[in-house]
Every structure is written in structure tokens, then in C-alpha cells.
């Protein structure tokens, strides 16, 4: 024995190209013959808000006193045309998620949590449930391509209307609610038989393109007496042009959803390979607004991968008026909580990785219509958890804003930021940390 026997074989080495996840996916595809469908958002590593830092105060920038000096967080949405703009007390809203993809208690909990801190929540495919309307002081009504459950009386009961063109997880894709989640109640709301797969269309049935959209917005305004703010939601694909076209079409508010945004169900290949990272989408949208003299007049809500108050502050500093959360809100309700670990194991996953939201077997009772599983989610307790989380996001955002000397979170600006990577510097249009270099721009740009 020389001690060198161990070197006869090289130690196991994982391929960077064919890593374990890739190999597992090839095996899965070979075994099943069908692409992987899942929920959640992009899981790949992407340039994100983590690649930005705030500078904080210095000799030339003085801070505000925490817990003493005021730092405003309110946002008014819909000031362009709507007779009744809505005011949210924090710059964080709850994104559209359908009853059908989510359980009724989950929808109620989202409304309760949002209302407790003075912000809005949003309906989804299938229309408005009484639970969420009752629980939500401010409810945005999604106007989707499928029009499942869409009724004019529901539009009139909403506080704002969001015309959905696309979402970040699948810009250009419709939806699919698999039969196992179609309960009698879900089926009735969508005028379809129970138990069949429900395809949500990817295009609106009665308009195509920005000129038509302008007329559709006119119709919605006429039907609601020009009272309600009208949002236009787009997945981050061509944010500069989409923003300009939404403004041209008459939107009050633009919702821009980056590729980290979640979905109830779509193909993994779609989630991971289409769209722009949220970080890359904000500045082009703000540029379009600024060029049209519409920044702060048409409000911009950014979503897709918002997790912390730092993310909120960074999105606002890049020019957003507010952010929207979906995945993080579900986690706050109890999704992927370790208390369900034993059941996650039975489903072949683990807490923190569960993403088969489309299958309707969610142990936490959130992404399911199973009556027994649904009972597990107490909408009051879950709503309280969401309210707590939203409060933390707000406090964190204020902490950063005060440290940068801002008396309102809207006063955060790109000048407060630097980037840790060349990519993030280019996408966010802020200097690489320690330099005055913004890739793609000259020093004076």
C-alpha cells in the first residue's frame, strides 16, 4: 500500500453542462415523453436585485432618523384618467392569482393580509369570489384573455381593472388548469364541465394590437363611467415598446412582470427560457415613460422575484411606483413551510422545493381545491402572516430609504445604487461599484 491507490480512479466530477438536474430532466423526458409542467417561477440564477447595493448616506447625502423622521410609503394609482384613483398605504400590492389555482381560503387570506396593511389584492382567471371581495378593501379585477367568470357586475364591484396581456413566467403563454383542480365550484364559475382541463387563452378574443387595445380600454371606461383605474399588465419581453404602447392605449397604470414572476402552472422550459429578468426590464420601461413625460403620471408596478424590503427599495429606486408580489405572498401564507415536510417527502419533494402547484395536492392547502387540504389553511391566521410579512417589507424599505436621506420611498433614485456585476450595472443602468462605469453608456450619458 503506497497510499496512491485512491488516485487510480479520478474522483466523481459533475459536468457543468450536464449537471445532475439536467441529467435528471433527460431521464424524466425519456421516461414520460412529455415536457415538465410546474408552478413557481424561474429557478435558474439570474441577474437580480441582489446584484445591486445602496450607497447610503455620506458627507454629501445626509440620512433621516429612523423611528423619528417620517418616510412616506403611500402610492396613488390611476391619476391619469380615472375619476377614482386608489391609494395604497404601502408600495407593495398582491398580484393576480386565480380562485381555481388557489383555494378559497387562500384568496380570502390574501385579501385579509393586504387589507390589514392598506394595500390591494387582485383577482385572476375565473372571476371574483365573494370571499375575496368581502376580505379585500381594495380589489383589482383582472380582465384576462380567457374571460372565465368575467361579468360586468363584477367589474363594477372592483376598485380597479387590470387588463392582462401577459405575465413574466410565460410571456406569450396562456394557462392550463388541470382537471384535478376543477371542482364543481371552479367549473361553474368558468362555465365548463368539472374535471376537464381548462385552457386559458393566450390572446384576447376581441382585440389584437395597440390600436384595438385603446378601444377596449375605452369600452371598459364607458362601462364603468370612467371611474376606475385601468392597469395594463405585460410580461417583461419588450418593456420599452410595451410601456410606450400601453401609454398610447390609454392605460392609467402599467404592471411589468419579470421572468422570475410565478405561475400556477406552465412548462418548465417556458418559465426558464422566455422573458427578461425583472432587473433588466425596469429601466427601459421607465425610459419610455420619461420620454413620454408620463413617469409618475402613469404609474409603474413592477413584479417578479420581489422577496425583501431591499428588493422593494431597489425596484422603486430604478423608477417603479410600486411592486407586486405573488410567490412571496403564498410563501407568507404557508407555502413550502417546513411543518409539512413529511407530506412534501411523500410527494417526492421537500419544503423549499415544492412547485407542483398544478397537481392540486398542496399539503399547505393553498394551491389546491381538495376540501380536506383546503381546510388546513385558516384564512385569518394566514392573512395575519401575510400582513406581518408586508409590514416587514415596508419597514425594511423605509430603513433603506431613510439611510439614503429620503422622506418618501419614491424619492429613492438610481443615483443611490451601485452594481456588483457588470451585467447588473448594464441592466440597471447604475455604475459598477467603485467605478463610474455604466456598461453601454458613455461617462456623460
Amino acid at each position: 500500500m503506497t497510499g496512491d491507490e485512491r488516485w487510480i480512479h479520478t474522483p466523481p466530477r459533475e459536468s457543468a453542462t450536464f449537471d445532475r438536474a439536467t441529467i435528471a430532466e433527460i431521464h424524466r423526458a425519456a421516461a414520460t415523453g412529455i415536457y415538465d409542467i410546474r408552478g413557481f417561477g424561474a429557478k435558474r440564477k439570474l441577474p437580480h436585485f441582489d446584484d445591486l447595493l445602496f450607497l447610503g448616506a455620506s458627507i454629501s447625502r445626509y440620512p433621516l432618523e429612523g423611528y423619528r423622521e417620517k418616510c412616506g410609503t403611500n402610492v396613488v394609482l390611476g391619476t391619469r384618467f380615472a375619476k377614482k384613483p386608489i391609494e395604497i398605504k404601502i408600495p407593495i400590492t398582491i398580484a393576480g392569482m386565480s380562485f381555481g389555482s388557489l383555494s378559497a381560503p387562500a384568496k380570502e387570506a390574501l385579501g385579509r393580509g393586504a387589507s390589514a396593511v392598506g394595500t390591494s389584492t387582485t383577482t385572476g382567471d375565473g372571476g371574483m369570489t365573494e370571499e375575496e371581495r368581502a376580505a379585500s378593501s381594495l380589489l383589482v379585477y383582472q380582465y384576462l384573455p380567457s374571460r372565465y367568470g368575467m361579468e360586468p357586475d363584477q367589474i363594477r364591484r372592483a376598485d380597479a381593472i387590470e387588463i392582462v396581456i401577459g405575465q413574466g413566467a410565460k410571456p406569450g403563454g396562456g394557462g392550463m388548469l388541470l382537471g384535478q383542480k376543477i371542482s364543481e365550484r371552479v367549473a361553474a364559475m368558468r362555465t365548463l364541465p368539472a374535471g376537464i382541463d381548462q385552457r386559458s387563452a393566450c390572446r384576447h378574443p376581441d382585440w389584437t394590437g395597440p390600436d384595438d387595445l385603446e378601444i377596449k380600454i375605452l369600452e371598459l371606461r364607458e362601462i364603468t363611467g370612467w371611474e376606475k383605474p385601468i392597469y395594463v399588465k405585460v410580461g417583461a419581453a419588450r418593456p420599452y415598446y410595451d410601456t410606450a404602447l400601453a401609454v398610447k392605449s390609454g392605460a392609467d397604470v402599467i404592471v411589468l412582470d419579470g421572468m422570475q414572476g410565478g405561475t400556477a402552472a406552465t412548462q418548465d422550459v417556458f418559465i426558464e427560457h422566455c422573458g427578461l429578468p425583472t432587473l433588466a426590464a425596469i429601466r427601459p420601461a421607465v425610459k419610455a415613460l420619461t420620454e413620454l413625460d408620463m413617469h409618475r403620471k402613469v404609474q409603474l408596478i413592477v413584479s417578479g422575484g420581489i422577496r425583501s424590503g431591499a428588493d422593494v427599495a431597489k425596484a422603486l429606486a430604478l423608477g417603479a411606483d410600486a411592486v407586486s408580489i405573488g410567490t412571496a405572498a403564498l410563501i407568507a401564507l404557508g407555502d413550502n413551510h417546513p411543518r409539512w415536510e413529511e407530506e412534501y417527502r411523500k410527494l417526492g419533494t421537500t419544503a423549499g422545493c415544492y412547485d407542483d402547484w398544478h397537481e392540486g395536492r398542496d399539503p399547505a392547502g393553498i394551491t389546491t381545491q381538495d376540501p380536506e387540504l383546503t381546510k388546513r389553511l385558516d384564512p385569518v391566521a394566514a392573512g395575519k402572516r401575510l400582513a406581518n410579512y408586508l409590514s416587514v417589507l415596508t419597514l425594511e424599505c423605509q430603513t433603506i430609504a431613510r439611510a439614503n436621506g429620503k422622506s418618501h420611498v419614491h424619492n429613492l433614485e438610481p443615483e443611490d445604487l451601485v452594481a456588483l456585476t457588470v451585467e447588473a450595472a448594464a441592466m440597471a443602468g447604475v455604475p459598477l461599484a467603485g467605478t463610474n462605469w455604466i456598461p453601454g453608456r458613455g461617462p456623460q450619458d
Binding site: R147, R199, E222
Partner: protein, 240 residues
């Protein structure tokens, strides 16, 4: 309810309210119609206005003399709207109840996503008639374009003329009756037998549209879903 409706109408029959879009804005005309609880209204000079008489909620009689733009009678509830002219895209889109009668031709997406009531088109209708239909009944006296009844969920479409390509593509539970030729059927749409219940339904819709017995229900073919694609299965991949 019908009696109350007729009573309310009778009370207002004596006076037609004229709304002239040559002097009124769209908002003024629509607001007048939306606030009215009953009555008869005549709209002049629509000049292709969009969203005219959209969002009505009460049992009015509205007559529009001229051509209208997009979404005339959109999301209608209870009102009876007659268009003495042609209609642009999405006439009576998402109608919930009541009746919309186009005396001329209709552009694309007529009756899209409609949930209830009756849409009558005396002329032809363009593409995507009754797309994503959810319970509205549509009678077209002329012919219809391609992709009619795409993903239609519920309701009935009656066509006295011909239908274009891909009729009833990905159709769910809506019922289609076509008297003329169908250029092609869409995915998962098939011809079906006409049973007595279908003949009765068809006759009632023809009657409602003012079509007399000279048009025989036996001249129609019924189309509907084969229901083979209701649940995704890899073996059906070639169908999509």
C-alpha cells in the same frame, strides 16, 4: 319579470328619446342610456362610434340608425339594441342578457365570450364569431368567417349560410347549427346527429330571430365537440 319589462316599456313608448351623436359626446350618450331605467331611445349619427350603448343594465329599447364601431352593446344586460347598419369588431361582446340585432353585417369577434341573451345578425359575420362563447345564443342569417366558435364553452350558434375554415376549433359544450356548407371543421369539432331536442332548440331560436317556417330545421347540420381533447394526453399531440 317579462310583464314588468313590458309594462316599463309601454310607459315610455309614447316618447322616443333622441340621442344625436352629431351634437352629443359618446360619454353623454352612453351615460344617458346607462342611467335610464326604461324607455325607448333612438341614436342618430353614430358614425362608427366605438363602445356605443355598452354596459347597459336596464330593459331599454335602443335603436341606432347608422354604422357602429367596436363593441357596440358590449356586456349588455337586459336592453334590446337594434343597429340599422353594420357593426364593427366585438358587437355584443360578453353580453349577459337582452338582445342585440344587427340589421347589416358584423365584423369579427361578434358575440365574443357572450354569456346570455340573443344576438341576431341579418347579414354576414366575419371571423371568430362567438369565440369563447359562454351561453349567448347567436343567429346569423348570412354566412360566417373562419374560426367561429373557437373554444366556445356554452350557448348556441345558428348559421343560415355557410361557415368558413376551422369551425368550432377546440370547442367545449357550445352547440352549432349550420344550414350551408362548412369549409372545414376545427380540431375536436364533429358533425352530430340531430335529435328532437336539437330540432326544438333550433326552431325556437329561428322563431326568436323572426325566421319563419319556410326555413326547415331539417336543412341544418349540428356540430359540436368530440370531447377527445378535454384532458391533455400525449397521444393526442398531433391534434394540436
Amino acid at each position: 319579470m317579462a310583464a314588468a319589462r313590458e309594462g316599463a316599456r309601454a310607459a315610455h313608448d309614447a316618447r322616443n328619446t333622441d340621442l344625436d351623436l352629431a351634437s352629443l359626446s359618446l360619454r353623454q350618450a352612453n351615460e344617458t342610456l346607462q342611467k335610464a331605467e326604461a324607455g325607448s331611445f333612438v341614436v342618430a349619427n353614430p358614425r362608427g362610434a366605438h363602445a356605443l350603448a355598452a354596459g347597459l343594465t336596464n330593459p331599454l329599447d335602443v335603436t341606432i340608425n347608422g354604422h357602429v364601431g367596436y363593441y357596440c352593446g358590449g356586456m349588455n344586460q337586459k336592453a334590446h339594441i337594434t343597429i340599422n347598419g353594420n357593426a364593427g369588431t366585438g358587437v355584443a361582446e360578453n353580453m349577459m342578457s337582452g338582445r342585440v340585432h344587427v340589421k347589416g353585417d358584423a365584423s369579427q369577434s361578434a358575440g365574443a365570450t357572450g354569456c346570455g341573451g340573443l344576438l341576431i345578425i341579418d347579414g354576414n359575420a366575419s371571423a371568430r364569431l362567438g369565440i369563447s362563447l359562454r351561453g349567448l345564443d347567436i343567429v346569423v342569417k348570412g354566412s360566417i368567417g373562419h374560426m367561429a366558435a373557437f373554444m366556445a364553452q356554452a350557448g348556441t350558434i345558428v348559421v343560415l349560410g355557410d361557415a368558413g375554415d376551422a369551425l368550432g376549433d377546440s370547442i367545449y359544450e357550445a352547440r352549432l347549427f349550420v344550414r350551408g356548407k362548412v369549409k372545414s371543421l376545427g380540431t375536436d369539432c364533429i358533425a352530430k346527429d340531430m335529435r328532437e331536442e336539437h330540432r326544438t332548440l333550433l326552431r325556437s331560436l329561428l322563431d326568436a330571430a323572426g325566421i319563419g317556417p319556410e326555413i326547415d330545421v331539417a336543412e341544418f347540420t349540428r356540430y359540436g365537440s368530440a370531447r377527445k381533447l378535454y384532458n391533455f394526453h400525449i397521444d393526442n399531440l398531433g391534434s394540436y
